[in-house]
């Protein structure tokens, strides 16, 4: 054996797997398809001002339409951050007729840990119990209690700031001190609570440090809100700032970058994955290990398993159930309401808080009060002041106009709805055998549509958002009830779901393949339902938990 374990991917979950496995004493190879980006050294645009950039930070639309037609649709994508997103033209995928799926990706050391929005929420038993309760999808083989200690561990290490609220649906964690709500958000929180005591608007729980972690070389956040460029203060959680240095400190990590995994070898006699195949500069390589962790991001991990079909596993590896690739999800996501918030003209703020607010789920908990849907929705957003960009929408030229744009503008409050996505068999990933990638492998093919449930949830969310902002004294100026295309929430997940039964699921309760006990899939592919809050903290907790299980089974000689 070349290694004790191989970790595929270096993003949010791969970094965690590498840290946990090396710290447990294993010799680990981490394989990353993208380029190296060194912490602090390679954040090329971090300190640049708009006037230092050829297109003033906006970027070259013409080139983006050609090379980044999908990535450019995401708000974090701009001239400062374009190097942290994939070139769509070089990394194609195909979609079924009628499917509009925007797949936002970062292929580089650190993956999307560099570009993510850092919102970090625990899931609750409303989420882990959702499938059992309404019969969609398959029951999760775990509950909140299984994951709680792992959430503790992950929060302690990555650093999550947030406020304790005592909500069953959004459990409190081990938080650093919260960032403050701004004056308008504080008012809206109180106005909503006065009328709807069960609705809680609280500051976002975010993996940005409000207290330094000097032992790990991480400084407290400086309130710049340019995180996706990379942060030399190490003030937000990324692979580079946090898990990778921890793994490297053990001296047991080998890292290869610019190396795309093309497939896994499987021995049907022993039911083990025997090797990982990967390509470096057009050359095929092979590495062997006792354990393999797939952390390539939900869709890429499924892609690797589909591309690992063999005579013994004709429909893809770990797919004796036939459900591999099915039941993919993303939160149904839309701008539910924007309101002008009069009465705060004499107030402003200082600093760029890299965080917003969350209004926790309140529907379909102990009472089924969803209108045409059985799950939850929550809101994220915040209150902000306008600025010169508002001038684009107004008549005016000359000195008065310039003078007006000099000052912070009107306050407005934004609520973006995130609705639970029901797991459905027809939403699925397959191989497109008509087209190959650069390595000669069939492209990934996405078939996805939201259904009645998500539509109903967003319709109710819009109504509620309108009502709440109006009750808080706002004047709602717009709102939508149609979800953006699949992928908009950038919480794509599922495809290798966990379940009790090997006949209907890919992974067991330890994120371990039913068909290949030395194979673990601990990214978003393992998710059996979607909840309505951001998933990455849960992926991390599941990864840490799976690593402990894998190491335990290895020590006991069971794998």
């Amino acid at each position: 054996m070349d290694f004790d374990a191989i970790v595929v991917g270096s993003g949010i979950t791969g970094g965690w797997a590498a840290k946990e496995l090396t710290e447990a004493g294993l010799k680990v190879l981490m394989i990353e398809r993208g380029r190296t980006i060194r912490h602090q050294i390679d954040y090329d645009t971090e300190t640049k001002a708009p006037w230092d950039m050829p297109f003033r930070g906006r970027g070259d639309t013409e080139r983006y339409l050609r090379d980044y037609p999908v990535q450019m649709l995401n708000r974090q994508f701009n001239e400062f951050t374009e190097g942290h997103f994939v070139n769509d033209a070089e990394n194609p995928y195909t979609t079924a007729e009628g499917t509009d799926f925007t797949w936002f990706r970062s292929y580089q050391l650190g993956g999307r840990s560099l570009t993510w929005g850092r919102q970090s929420y625990r899931w609750s038993d409303y989420d882990f119990g959702a499938n059992l309760r309404d019969g969609h999808g398959t029951d999760w083989p775990i509950r909140y209690a299984d994951l709680a200690p792992w959430y503790d561990k992950v929060e302690d290490f990555i650093g999550v700031s947030g406020a304790h609220e005592g909500l069953a649906q959004l459990p409190d964690g081990h938080f650093q001190p919260p960032m403050a709500l701004n004056v308008v958000e504080q008012h809206v929180r109180e106005a909503i609570r006065a009328r709807w005591p069960e609705r809680c608007l609280t500051i976002g729980r975010t993996a940005n440090l409000t207290e330094a972690k000097p032992d790990e070389g991480r400084t407290a956040c400086q309130y710049r809100s340019i995180c996706a460029r990379g942060c030399s203060f190490g003030a937000y959680f990324s692979t580079q700032s946090s898990t990778l240095p921890a793994a490297q400190r053990t001296g047991r990590l080998t890292l290869v970058t610019d190396a795309a995994v093309s497939g896994l070898d499987f021995d049907p006699a022993t039911r083990r994955v025997t090797a990982v195949r990967y390509m470096v500069s057009g050359q095929q390589h092979r590495a062997t290990a006792r354990l393999v962790f797939l952390n390539a991001g939900a869709f890429n991990s499924v892609h690797i398993l589909l591309n690992s079909a063999s005579e013994a596993t004709p429909n893809g590896l770990a797919n004796s159930s036939g459900v591999l690739g099915t039941h993919i999800m993303d939160h149904a996501n839309t701008l539910s309401a924007v309101a002008l918030m009069p009465g705060f003209e004499g107030h402003t703020t200082f600093g760029n808080r890299p965080n917003g607010v969350i209004l926790a789920r309140y529907r379909n908990m102990d009472r089924m009060d969803g209108d045409g849907h059985t799950r939850g929705y929550s809101f994220q957003g915040g209150a902000l002041q306008g600025t010169w960009t508002a001038g684009k929408r107004e008549a005016g030229i000359g000195l008065d106009y310039k003078q007006k744009l000099r000052h912070p503008g009107a306050w407005r409050m934004v609520l973006v709805g995130f609705a639970d996505c029901v797991p459905r068999a027809r939403n699925r990933l397959t191989l497109d055998r008509s087209r190959n990638d650069a390595a000669g492998l069939p492209l990934l093919h996405v078939e996805f549509a939201f259904g009645r449930e998500e539509q109903a949830a967003l319709t109710q969310a819009k109504r509620d958002a309108d009502e709440m902002l109006t009750a808080a004294g706002g004047r709602v100026i717009m709102g939508f009830d149609q979800p953006g295309p699949g992928g908009t929430a950038i919480h794509e997940m599922g495809g290798a779901r966990m379940g009790h039964d090997p006949a209907t699921s890919v992974l067991n309760r330890w994120s371990q393949a039913h068909d290949a006990p030395n194979l673990f899939v601990t990214d978003g592919a393992q998710m059996s339902s979607s909840a309505c809050q951001n998933p990455s903290l849960t992926y991390m907790a599941l990864t840490a938990r799976a690593c402990a299980a894998a190491v335990g089974q290895l020590r006991e000689g069971r794998i």
Binding site: A49, F350, T389, K392, L399, K402
Partner: protein
């Protein structure tokens, strides 16, 4: 990202262009324009004047002082603010004289013709206060227009973008605070409070 080797002829052109760019303070990409995107001297003069009229010099520099017109030319050639997006056939019919074959607008041709038309002759030769009044009238009409896009609204958006992302606009007219270091959730706002140009959520959503 590096562009492919441009080859000897193009390289000679580029190095000449680079010198010119240095002299003008224009990003070099501005000079890599296909023939259809290079405005005439007169169109450039009109655009410069429009910049100065929208954001005039006050106690801080104006948009006419800091090369905003050059940025607008570059931005129009590269499609910022959706400026290269084809119009609907219906809208294109309104602008027949100034649309490309792909139905995208030739904004600077349009601006020249429109201001001359409103001047009943040569816009540039009008007195300054007349030029202001003519552009203000066009501006009012553009914002009263219900059509989803209007060439003046696009040009004006690019003038604002060019100005407030220039050092003069971003750090002299407004404040630029690259490392705030703290978060104050509620401060008094007075008539003297200047906006912070790197308040990104305000820029994106304001």
């Amino acid at each position: 990202m590096m562009a492919a080797d441009p080859g000897p002829d193009r390289r000679a052109f580029l190095s000449g262009a680079a010198l010119l760019a240095l002299a003008l303070g224009v990003p070099i990409a501005a000079l890599e324009l296909s023939p259809g995107d290079s405005p005439s001297a007169r169109q450039q003069a009109i655009l410069r004047e429009a910049c100065a009229l929208v954001i005039p010099r006050s106690d801080t520099p104006g948009a006419g002082d800091v090369g905003v017109a050059d940025f607008v030319v570059l931005a129009l050639a590269h499609g910022l603010e959706d400026s290269r997006k084809p119009l609907t056939a219906e809208l294109a019919a309104r602008y027949t004289a100034d649309v490309r074959s792909d139905l995208s607008l030739l904004h600077l041709e349009w601006l020249e013709a429109e201001l001359d038309r409103r001047s009943g002759g040569d816009f540039i030769r009008r007195r300054p206060e007349q030029r202001h009044a003519l552009l203000a009238a066009l501006d009012r009409a553009a914002f009263a227009d219900a059509a989803p896009v209007h060439p003046w609204r696009t040009i004006k958006a690019l003038i604002l973008l060019g100005y407030y992302t220039s050092e003069a606009g971003g750090a002299v007219e407004l404040r630029y605070v690259p490392v705030p270091g703290r978060w104050d959730p509620d401060l008094p706002q007075t008539p003297d409070t200047r906006a912070i140009s790197n308040d990104w959520s305000a820029v994106d959503f304001g």
